[in-house]
């Protein structure tokens, strides 16, 4: 049995870590919400600006989780953290942007490379030097069962922890929920009921 040792939520308006509200979107700012969060974290990683919304969301939320739970950053070997993510509509946001680029002007290679949902896993792996297991799935809605069953499979097959995410970005609407599962730690038992409860209404 494993434990959900930290989690966070992101919508278009607010960001919560372990259930606590930590930031709200400043509607006066000219910066995008994700950019506001990035600046607030005081990370310096210019590649952030090249990422699409899906990758920026995954990146920011992972950084927030690392702050909330330093074990995510320090306690594991470079291939022990499995990345298990899913959403409803794949990389649709970037797909539409790329399509627009070739229909209206000329195809943008920088947009094309984000037209796959698993790219966010690549961005997390690059920044954190994580060489472990990866999977990105597309499901009709958030399915606690899927995460519970597959993360446990990964944890019994060589991974020691799993960073899991539901990154639903479509029509520029963000519904994101990231959570960290460890074999030992303080937190709710990792089962479907608890996970669904923490996920809330995503």
């Amino acid at each position: 049995m494993s434990f959900i040792t930290s989690y966070c939520h992101l919508t278009n308006e607010s960001c919560l870590v372990n259930g606590q509200h930590i930031a709200g979107r400043d509607s006066e700012s000219t910066d995008s919400w994700l950019k506001q969060l990035y600046k607030k974290q005081e990370i310096v990683y210019p590649k952030f600006y090249k990422m699409d919304m899906l990758s920026q969301t995954g990146f920011i939320l992972t950084e927030l989780l690392k702050k909330a739970n330093p074990k995510l950053a320090n306690a594991y070997q470079d291939d022990e953290i499995a990345l298990l993510f899913a959403n409803r509509f794949s990389s649709v946001d970037s797909d539409v942007r790329f399509q627009r680029s070739y229909q209206q002007t000329s195809p943008s290679p920088a947009l094309f490379v984000y037209t796959l949902p698993n790219i966010v896993l690549g961005e997390l792996a690059i920044y954190n030097k994580w060489y472990g297991e990866n999977m990105f799935a597309v499901l009709p809605k958030f399915a606690a069962d899927f995460y519970v069953s597959y993360a446990e499979i990964l944890l019994s097959a060589g991974s020691e922890a799993s960073l899991c995410g539901w990154l639903d970005i479509a029509d520029e609407q963000i519904h994101a929920f990231l959570f960290f599962v460890e074999k030992e730690g303080e937190g709710l038992a990792f089962n479907s009921e608890n996970l669904q409860k923490l996920a809330g209404t995503i």
Partner: protein, 360 residues
């Protein structure tokens, strides 16, 4: 023991696995020059399936492959609550609906075949197929299901072709994996399926054994391979270690071999680090092109046919060593006892995955 079998293939070379394999034994390729297909309406080499259903080609292929696969097994299992369907694809039915690339097809299959469990779409770039087969095996091994039907399917679309052309990644010639003159991919479309099961009796013909598989990220670049082949090295090493397979045990490697300068070079470096440069190896992309989400499944299916037919298929498109480390590229079809095969895949997002199949 986890079994794998009932492999089926729909490609430009035919709509059954055996038909495809026969064509490949005759050195046929699905690649041809298609007029006006590319940017600025120039001709492009593509591996295109003729006579695709023009209204819903994606779901029509999925339906067709399932019908073929079901003929090779106890068809009742499709309606069982102990069966899960996994679909490996990168862009699904994007040309039908960019805002819902998979949903409609998944719902269609669920209704058409009375599926009990929600199918899972795996969208992990070019490693999706191998990841999906491994996931199917993992689900079955964990006792969550008894059977996993794994389908890999991707279509050529203006979207994808335009994208790869914007990366200057498409060759003007049919692709030449591992060759010194290689200069890019040839896009292909295909649909392939396999059954993974804990029960031997559901297969009408002899299944093969599917060992544990793994994946690993390069942690290097989102679209370029690691120069040291780190992710590929790690996944193959893990897969070999967890199964107790040594570099002397592998009879054949079905490599990823996309025919870009960097990918094939990266693979040669990784295989060198793994002491696998002596193992007979091919890329099947000279026959099918790069079929993206279908690649891992269709290439595994062909590798299974190689085991069944005791033949090592030549690496179509290869003439001359083109990587800094020499690999044992199969240059002509060779009759050989093929018992243990390694399938690898690498893809955008830094993903790498591998699996091993054995004759029982």
């Amino acid at each position: 023991m986890i079994y794998i079998g009932a492999e089926e293939i729909i490609s430009p070379l035919g709509d059954r696995a055996e038909q495809n394999f026969q064509a490949m034994l005759d050195n046929q390729s699905g690649i041809s020059l298609v007029a006006e297909a590319g940017l600025n309406k120039l001709p492009v080499n593509l591996s295109k399936i003729a006579d695709l259903d023009f209204q819903n080609p994606f779901e029509s292929l999925l339906e067709q492959i399932l019908i073929s696969l079901l003929k090779k097994i106890d068809a009742d299992i499709i309606r069982s609550d102990r069966t899960i369907l996994l679909i490996s694809s990168t862009k699904g039915a994007i040309e039908n609906d960019i805002s819902d690339q998979f949903g409609k097809s998944v719902r269609f299959l669920t209704d058409r075949f009375l599926l009990v469990n929600q199918p899972v779409v795996i969208s992990n770039a070019c490693i999706s197929g191998v990841v999906a087969i491994n996931a199917g095996a993992n689900f079955v091994r964990a006792g969550l299901y008894d059977h996993a039907i794994v389908i890999g399917c991707d279509l050529i679309s203006e979207f994808v072709l335009t994208g790869f052309q914007s990366l200057f990644a498409v060759s003007e010639k049919p692709c030449q994996p591992f060759d010194s003159e290689r200069n890019g991919i040839t896009l292909g479309e295909a649909c392939s399926a396999v059954l993974v099961s804990n029960s031997r009796s559901v297969f009408r013909d002899m299944p093969l054994g599917l060992l544990k598989g793994t994946s690993a990220n390069d942690a290097n670049h989102i679209s370029g391979p690691s120069r040291t082949g780190e992710g590929l090295f790690r996944t193959v090493r893990k897969t070999m270690q967890v199964n107790g397979i040594s570099d002397q045990d592998i009879d054949f490697i079905s490599a990823h071999g996309t025919a870009t300068v960097y990918n094939d070079e990266m693979e040669s470096i990784a295989f060198d680090r793994l002491n696998l440069t002596h193992v007979p190896l091919n890329s099947l992309k000279g026959y099918f092109g790069h079929t993206l989400g279908a690649a891992g499944v269709i290439e595994t299916a062909v590798s299974m046919q190689m085991i069944r037919n005791n033949v090592l298929l030549k690496s179509l498109g290869f003439k001359q060593k083109g990587t800094s480390v020499a690999l044992n590229i199969i240059e002509e079809n060779i009759p050989a006892e093929v018992k243990t095969i390694l399938k690898t895949a690498s893809g955008f997002g830094g993903g790498n995955a591998s699996l091993i199949i054995q004759k029982l």
